[in-house]
Assembly symmetry: C2
Homo-oligomer: 344 residues x 2
Amino acid sequence: MVSLGARDELFSFHEFSLIHRIIDQLGAAAAQDIVVPPGDDAAVWATSSPGNLIVASVDAMTAGVHWLEGSESTMTTSDVGWRAVAASVSDIAAMGATPKMLLISLMLSEFSSSVFVDELVQGISDACLFHDVKVAGGDIVKGSANGISITVIGETERSVDNRILRRDSAKVGDIVVVTGRLGGSAAGLSLIRSAVEIEQSMEILTRRHRRPEARVVVGRQALLAGARCAIDVSDGFLQDLGHIASASQVDIEVICDDVPLEIAAVGLLGRSMALDLGLGGGEDYELVLIFNEGLFKDIERASDTELTIVGRVVEQIADQAAVRAFDSQGEIYNPAIRGWDHGN
Amino acid sequence: MVSLGARDELFSFHEFSLIHRIIDQLGAAAAQDIVVPPGDDAAVWATSSPGNLIVASVDAMTAGVHWLEGSESTMTTSDVGWRAVAASVSDIAAMGATPKMLLISLMLSEFSSSVFVDELVQGISDACLFHDVKVAGGDIVKGSANGISITVIGETERSVDNRILRRDSAKVGDIVVVTGRLGGSAAGLSLIRSAVEIEQSMEILTRRHRRPEARVVVGRQALLAGARCAIDVSDGFLQDLGHIASASQVDIEVICDDVPLEIAAVGLLGRSMALDLGLGGGEDYELVLIFNEGLFKDIERASDTELTIVGRVVEQIADQAAVRAFDSQGEIYNPAIRGWDHGN
């Protein structure tokens, strides 16, 4: 749970002491071995190879919107730190690039305790070590609520054809492939909200909600093997496919029976509900990879997780690009759950 | 003024439409000509030369803390956008590096109107064009108040000795040099708050508060000419010198009479008050450059603004590094205004 202790001395610290304290607490997750480590006006570092392209993205979460505090909370403060890192890193994974450095902007309400900051930093640190990224810098400001915004900067090799996994490069005839299993995060959230005691066999679901893992390795391997199109499952699988369809000006067809669902979610909620969560729940941070079928075996061999073919790219048939899901009768299936719009 | 219109349809837009609208509005300030422009999971670009070092910093501002809304407002919404960009870019200027790309994280309260967003983006766009940086990506989330966090990513040449302007490289005997003139921003704020009609000769002060300009050119030239130590004047001149003193483990002595003050501020408030604002007001976004006196003529020749020698680096005499300001009698001078702590 997010523990909001009595207001303590947090804001009697100068920002500068607080920053030093956070850098200390980050330990090995702070980028101490770069040209200019955290603590100066800016951080400075070299790419792994001269000439590498820079890949950068920013992702924000705010209390009351992306996580709840107090009795409604579905995760600990350190889970919030972990998720913020994983969600940001996932955007770099979806490009097939290697994430390297994070810049963290923290907004703290006057009711934040130093315990809150310590726990948040612990989750950030754990997720950094897990995903092999480091914190290069940050800023801390007072605000009317707690919020965290993480910029992740990674890199990838420069090539004549600028190879990268993009949203706008799905080609008619390509297969649609999903890493891992979907619906686990939303099922975990539903399980936590039900407030029943959680059996050990269901803990994978709460972990998927609280400690998602970005698919950096398989994204990278897919790029190296020849894939050029991907997105991560953050808003909801069908909605994320919609971004690809509209950027690539194609339609995408998905076979519902082929969508790999988190097994514990099917056990807990039944296949129909688990499917709806898999199609629309979002926040699984799996990757959707779209590529020529001939590449499948190579990419599967290099992958550190299971890959499942769930659909195909077809020609756009109407004015607007569309995603169609088909049920086992070959009928269009509309899941009961819509994807997540970050703005809301 | 920040005009908070009646709540309109802002959050009926999907985030994705809002992002496209913002990219359109940014126009030439959006990085459309890079490998992967805004709109994908991450932006991708090449450095100007292969092997350049990456230089990155993040800076956040929140409504009610860094700017006021409604009747207490001291700047327009587009000024807020400008300032957010300039403050971030100033951190890169203080490294002697070249700022290139911005990633913008916007937190919007449910009371934000689309007019607010349009004006903010206009200010961002104007400041990007002025400082020759582009917006490579962003995220928009709902929050309990308006806030903006800007990550700026720049670059500089790699060299064997990793030359860069750092806080920890002031050497005993170096001179302390200030670009431009200090106190203008705080005097401008004071003038705006006084609510008197502002004469044309005083408009430089309101402009320094609302539309600060980062000193990118002189920072770069100082680095190229051999300087290795700098900071930007954001928290307050003496406080910023304190960061250098403590990072470099030296003391710094400043001659108050030599500190270049914004002339209009002296005219408006008298020399004594203008001095206090110059020493402690902050947010002038001038640079403090610290280097061997022998470099002064070269750096002055290459500078696009006036440079003034205001002090010298001396040996640290106590346990804690210290900054001492001396008045015309040679006595220690303690200004009435303390520097700004971002956390507060």
